[in-house]
């Protein structure tokens, strides 16, 4: 196992999947995770679209993979500095501890958009306005309630919060929110069949296997209403519910609605780790995501020797895409190690 050392920054799906595949090909892998647990954003999810597989299963599977003898896992390790010196990659964490290896994989993933930048939507102002992440947390609890702890009669989802929005500088589509909204609306209807669910959208983008089917199911089976119009203002009513304003564009008429919960489908942005480290090693691209050498053919390579990318640190990706991508990354790293 001489000079087959690999450092992986980020113990999310991308990191672990790559680590495991490298470990199988007898590399000694060091996974550095800044949180206390591996799994990254998976930890905030209950069920996965479109299959509704329990996230715990996936998580369980990851933690098994991370047990592999060739994998050294360091949690609570926040890497602040990266540099390449005499053919070795060095990663220094906050405490000054340095890790070295022949190759380095950046799998620092994404974070969700801070909805408070869209003040007009009232997030952080009206308690009835929550983000998709907070809703998912409610699913974990197993009960959806209004701020007053009542059962919501009406829930509205708003797509494209922090994505496709020039005002906050994110021109791109986050790709996962549409289907996520469908998933969440179905989960709500399964928990609270009598609750009305409305989904406000600019475009519904169901470009994935079984996505369209799930969309249909939400309409046919669960009677979720889809309204084409972007909510532009939210305000609190006297009884502390949320009143939303939009145009029912297909009807060409203004629309007003009072809901118990307004769920903002917050888009994905590059995580701070991605942006900072990416900037340090000169692979920072558009919107702070890490930039691969070539989208077609060399998507895991970078301009830097021995530095590789995997998963949603490059762009918004779904879980299956991420895992496939990190397996590809593992393969690229093996090629690299074999050449040296």
């Amino acid at each position: 196992m001489e000079n087959r050392k690999v450092i992986i920054i980020g113990g999310g799906p991308a990191g672990i999947e790559a680590a495991y595949n490298l470990a199988l090909n007898n590399c000694s892998v060091t996974v550095l995770e800044k949180e206390a647990h591996i799994g990254g954003n998976i930890n905030n999810i209950v069920k996965l679209f479109p299959s509704f597989v329990s996230a715990d299963e996936i998580h369980e599977n990851f933690s098994q993979k991370s047990q592999h003898e060739n994998i050294k896992l360091y949690t609570n390790t926040d890497i602040t500095q990266l540099f390449f010196e005499n053919d070795l990659w060095h990663a220094k964490d906050a405490s000054g501890e340095t890790y070295t290896a022949d190759a380095l994989l950046l799998s620092t993933g994404f974070k969700t958009f801070d909805a408070r930048f869209k003040e007009e939507l009232g997030y952080g102002i009206y308690s009835g306005v929550i983000t998709s992440v907070e809703l998912e947390a409610m699913f974990k609890e197993g009960k959806i309630t209004t701020p007053e702890g009542k059962i919501p009669q009406r829930i509205a989802f708003l797509n494209c919060v922090g994505s496709r929005d020039e005002k906050v500088g994110n021109h791109y589509c986050s790709r996962v929110c549409c289907i996520n909204a469908v998933k969440q609306s179905i989960s709500i209807k399964e928990l609270l069949p009598d609750t009305e669910v409305f989904c406000f959208y600019m475009d519904i983008r169901m470009a994935g296997q079984f996505y369209e089917e799930l969309y249909r199911k939400s309409q046919e089976k669960h009677n979720v209403n889809y309204i084409r119009g972007r909510i532009s203002e939210a305000a609190a009513t006297i009884d502390n519910r949320v009143q939303i304003k939009c145009e029912d564009t297909l009807n060409q008429l203004p629309m007003k609605m009072t809901v118990d919960l307004l769920v903002l489908m917050v888009g994905t942005e590059a995580s701070d780790g991605t942006t900072n480290l990416g900037e340090q090693v000169g692979v920072k691209g558009e919107y702070g995501f890490a930039k691969s050498l070539n989208l077609h053919g060399a998507d895991n390579l970078t301009i830097k020797k021995g530095l590789f990318l995997a998963g949603s640190c490059k762009r918004p990706l779904t879980l299956p895409e991420t895992m496939a991508d990190s397996r590809a990354a593992a393969f690229e790293i093996l090629n690299y190690l074999n050449q040296n």
């Binding site: 007009e120 494209c160 119009g229 145009e247 008429l253 203004p254």
Partner: protein, 116 residues
């Protein structure tokens, strides 16, 4: 000509073969961002005039784009130019500029000539 007691009703079809799609280009020359509009309706939803009347900026913009100018000028006069629409637009469209350029091209308004 006889009085028939009725006239041939005109079709409500937007005939893209006959419609005047050129004039809209004049708008996009002046306001390039107009092209970016994806008709999400955020503007019309937040519109201050919208609280009082049926005025619908998005609709006006679309009609103009499709060359449907019928009583558009009167509609556009309802705008108070307050600019809320511009603030909520996700595509950063310069809505106010579109509005009064539309007015100008509908010959509803022009700059006063001041003799110096």
């Amino acid at each position: 000509m006889k009085n028939w007691g009725f006239t041939i009703s005109t079709s409500r079809t937007i005939d893209m073969d006959k419609a005047d799609l050129k004039t809209y280009n004049k708008i996009t020359e002046k306001v390039p961002s107009a092209k970016r509009c994806l008709m999400c309706g955020a503007c019309s939803a937040t519109c201050a005039a919208h609280n009082h009347t049926s005025f619908n900026f998005r609709k006006c913009h679309l009609s103009f784009r499709r060359g449907q100018f019928e009583n558009l000028a009167e509609e556009l006069d309802k705008c108070m130019l307050c600019g809320k629409c511009k603030l909520v637009c996700p595509r950063g469209v310069n809505t106010r500029a579109i509005i009064f350029n539309m007015r100008i091209f509908l010959n509803d308004l022009n700059y006063k000539k001041i003799s110096l």
